[in-house]
Symmetry: C2
Subunit: 554 residues, 2 copies
């Protein structure tokens, strides 16, 4: 069998979040592998109640641990680096990253007791990292976090470009400006495949620069009467700087609130990329200042329940209380699915008399991802033999292939688990890998299909009814079945207690049951469950989840 070049998304292709991509080269099954990004996605009550974090399922990688040459992190967003601490031990390969990303990755590894030395700080192109048959180089690119990078991956089959998350921004305030010459240079000898960010493929206008919103924000802060609060992603260092400088222009001192906010500013300062950031004051000092001289920079732009924004909206955070005449700016866009949380905060702020300003259709926020015309520009510069969209839901990937086709590119929709063989002139699907999600639940990693979360959702939808029955040494019932309920109406149709009605129905069955049934745990449990569900259905119009516990004294 001949060597082949493979691309395998384990996360991020068919969803926005949880990015984890694999490239490999070698004999089928023996490829030397690199992993690009190890991100997380966030749980929600709809599908993953009680889950702490969602990680890609890396069973395929774990089984090939010895083949992994390295883990390359493109940038420090949680959906790209968030799983590194949880998974590093299971993969064991060196982690490569640019300084700011490395700083964040090391903090995550440190939380899991892994040493700093795991992470290798790398420079950018033309610096090359040799990984067996693959050679990797970091291509600086602009995005909503400093030191983002695309990857150049040279292989015996040709050059692959992995865009990473990016936008085309020639003046990004902090971090690398868009460098068209660089992308032209790396593309001039031909590109085998472009694996490309798809997030904003439905946004028809060209993207706007981070630097385009500073004046509007400064004007807004000057006009505001009381205290100003601004929220955005803490990792958007450029935005933090834009907001802080606007505050300075409006004669307002900056206060950082929220753990992530302080941590990100600290990391950016440590690696020396946050220059010209105004001095900050403590919350305690801010309390002594006139309100019109204060700007709070806070976490929680997505309505997260425990973040600083949510606590301020509830009335108090570290002694600071918002009131009538204050202004709250969402310098952010609400990620679909987070609307309820954000709107809750907006209404709580309204109750306090605080004026809320949202991104106002782009006046106070720009996206960190390339819009449709910007994607087309990268297509035209790189002219790949194959376009493979990534970082998108299915609709984004499909639309991105269509966009490529408009300028004559051949593309393929490759979703999580679809291993693409890039070796020939046409990409082919080599294999379908079982993939999915792993939940961090408390301190335990559980499989998404293990049924644990399914059972929780069932209890949430249907309530839980517990039947206990004691069977004595002679296989006779000792007393009547006993029923407890949780999450169910206490009284139903007949105004009688639900537990009494169900117990009565169960007792009738038990008293009539023959010896064989009473000796058979499986049958007994099944019958008791069926009767309990039917009885509840008649009484309250709802079939609960039922747990039956038969205790045998024998």
């Amino acid at each position: 069998m001949s060597d082949r070049l493979i691309y395998l998304p384990l996360g991020g292709a068919g969803e926005i979040g949880m990015n984890a991509y694999v490239y490999g080269y070698g004999k089928p099954g023996k490829e030397r592998l690199i992993v690009v990004d190890l991100g997380v996605t966030f749980p929600d009550m709809d599908g993953t109640p009680g889950v702490d974090l969602i990680l890609p399922d890396i069973a395929w990688l774990k089984a090939r641990k010895a083949q992994i040459e390295g883990i390359f992190i493109t940038h420090a967003h949680e959906d790209h680096v968030g799983a590194i601490g949880h998974y590093w031990e299971q993969l064991g390969a060196p982690v490569y990253a640019r300084p700011f990303t490395a700083n964040i990755a090391r903090r995550k590894l440190d939380e899991h007791g892994h040493p700093e030395s795991v992470v290798k700080v790398v420079g950018v192109y033309p610096e090359m990292i040799k990984c067996g048959p693959l050679t990797v180089s970091y291509l600086p690119i602009s995005h909503s976090i400093p030191e983002s990078a695309g990857l150049l991956i040279d292989t015996p089959e040709g050059r692959v470009l992995h865009s990473g998350d990016f936008k085309i921004d020639e003046n990004p305030v902090v971090g690398d400006p868009w460098n068209e010459a660089l992308w032209e240079e790396v593309s001039k000898d031909g590109v085998k495949a472009l694996i490309c960010d798809s997030t904003n493929v439905f946004s028809r206008d060209p993207g706007r620069s981070e630097s385009s919103i500073g004046d509007a924000i400064a004007d807004m802060m000057k006009e505001a009467k009381g205290m100003v609060v601004a929220t955005t992603f803490a990792s958007n260092i450029a935005r933090l700087k834009t907001l802080a400088i606007a505050a300075q222009k409006a004669d307002r001192s900056v206060v950082l609130l929220g753990r992530a906010m302080r941590r990100m500013v600290e990391a950016a300062t440590e690696v020396g990329i946050l220059k010209g950031f105004p001095p900050v004051v403590s919350p305690e000092d801010a309390l002594q200042m006139p309100r019109e001289n204060v700007m709070l920079l806070v976490t929680g732009s997505q309505g997260e329940r425990r973040a600083a924004s949510a606590q301020l909206a509830q009335g108090n955070y570290m002694g600071i209380k918002l009131k009538d005449g204050d202004t709250f700016l969402f310098s952010s866009k609400t990620i679909p699915g987070n609307e309820r949380g954000v709107i809750r905060i907006m209404n709580q702020l309204s109750e306090l008399g605080v004026d809320v300003i949202d991104d106002a259709g782009g006046k106070y926020h720009v996206s960190g991802h390339a819009n449709r015309p910007d994607l087309a520009r990268l297509h035209q510069i790189t002219k790949p033999q194959t376009l493979i969209p990534m970082h998108g839901e299915h609709r984004h990937l499909r639309e991105h292939v269509k966009l490529g086709a408009e300028s004559g590119l051949s593309g393929i929709v490759a979703v999580n688990g679809m291993m693409i063989d890039l070796s020939g002139n046409q990409p082919t699907v080599a294999e379908y890998i079982d993939t999915g999600r792993t939940y961090l639940d408390g301190t335990v990693q559980v499989g998404a299909m293990d049924g644990i979360v399914r059972d929780r959702i069932r209890m949430a939808m249907n309530g839980h009814l517990i039947v206990t029955l004691i069977i004595d040494e002679n296989d006779e019932p000792l007393g009547d079945p006993w029923v407890e309920i949780m999450g169910l109406a206490e009284t139903g149709r007949n105004n009688a207690a639900l537990v009494d009605v169900v117990e009565e129905d169960l007792s009738q069955f038990v008293n009539r049951a023959n010896a064989k049934t009473l000796r058979d745990d499986v049958k007994l449990e099944k019958e008791l469950k069926t009767i309990a569900r039917k009885s509840a259905q008649g009484e309250i119009g709802k079939k609960p989840e039922v747990t039956v516990i038969v205790s045998r004294l024998g």
Copy 2:
């Protein structure tokens, strides 16, 4: 004590949905009352898992049943009429509505076994309905459902106008066009208070007419190659007509899919307001037609899991299968909070190769509510002494008061439970009424604060652990405690079974417990619960909900 005029929102003020407003006149506590609308709102997994429907808490009204003169339904949307079947018996007053609304209300009452005669069909202004000291008249107004109405309420303290849900549409395709002269006429002798829709107070441009989108939709349907599917609210009869006529122009036969879709068209046809609607064909007949000659009009525009849209996206509905080359139009706006469900459908359609078209920023959809300039126009026509915003979250109500202030109106933010005394020259808060929500859960009405749904959410977040212990006649433990789990990881930190670890910890306690503890159910339960939670926390990093069942043989 002198007579007073009161306004009391029980639902709809501080939220969008679940409208229920009360007006009254008389001696404090003895007012003769009318109820305006009895709507529902819809549950979600975040806050109300397993709940079937959310109704306003009408305890205050039930306690004053004898004082209620009538129930006035402004229009047939679920958030205005949805609770009528569930609550009519508890209130017992006649229900007034225009013919189309009456048709829908009667269907709901019929489902609960109440006779048709409960609903009195009324004509519009100048027809008047006398309700004790109050006189009510229906003022036709345009909205996204036929025969919407505002209410004129004449009282000894002056005239009150209740806008109902409305937009300013001079050519609404179906239903009453905006009638400025009518609103001028009823306002000319002075308006005591305007209680006014606030939904779109943040939309800065004037609203657009339903008739403005027909051509764009027809063009889209002509250009589409395969089958076209269009979804919108079934109750938006005008939109159904717009879509059906567009289909006709594009040489496509119309198929109605979804129970609500068929029911609404039936109701509109019965009352004679749906004229010029093209003939429809059955799904079976559609299967025999070329795809490019079919347009399906389907329910489920908000991503509802069991609606026709969701089933089509999953691959099959009544034998109809969508495929590559078909087009799916959302002629609708996603209500905040429903994004996840809608996006799920969009991605499933993408997987089938179906092109999805959303409202495209207004090209294929217009709102049914008055935008900011339209609200200002109604303010200017009616010139109320007091403006009371309704039908909005807190932020909408507050912004609406501000909008009124811009043209010199005095306004007040009155949220659910805030009884406003309108008698004097200035509105005052007369009383705060305990109000809230009632859940329809299966067939039972339970209070939102009863703790039932709270327990379900806790089980969903934390899992459920059940401890059973048998105590014999001598108050000695019979065997060891037994543990069952639901919604929890089976193995934890030490790779041992969670239930074994917890049972071991519980056994140690039970074996050491003194006779006094073993005799004391409350204490025993508390201790077992505490140990089980702590033990689980150590093992899986999560404190489950615990139910302890002690069975005493004594």
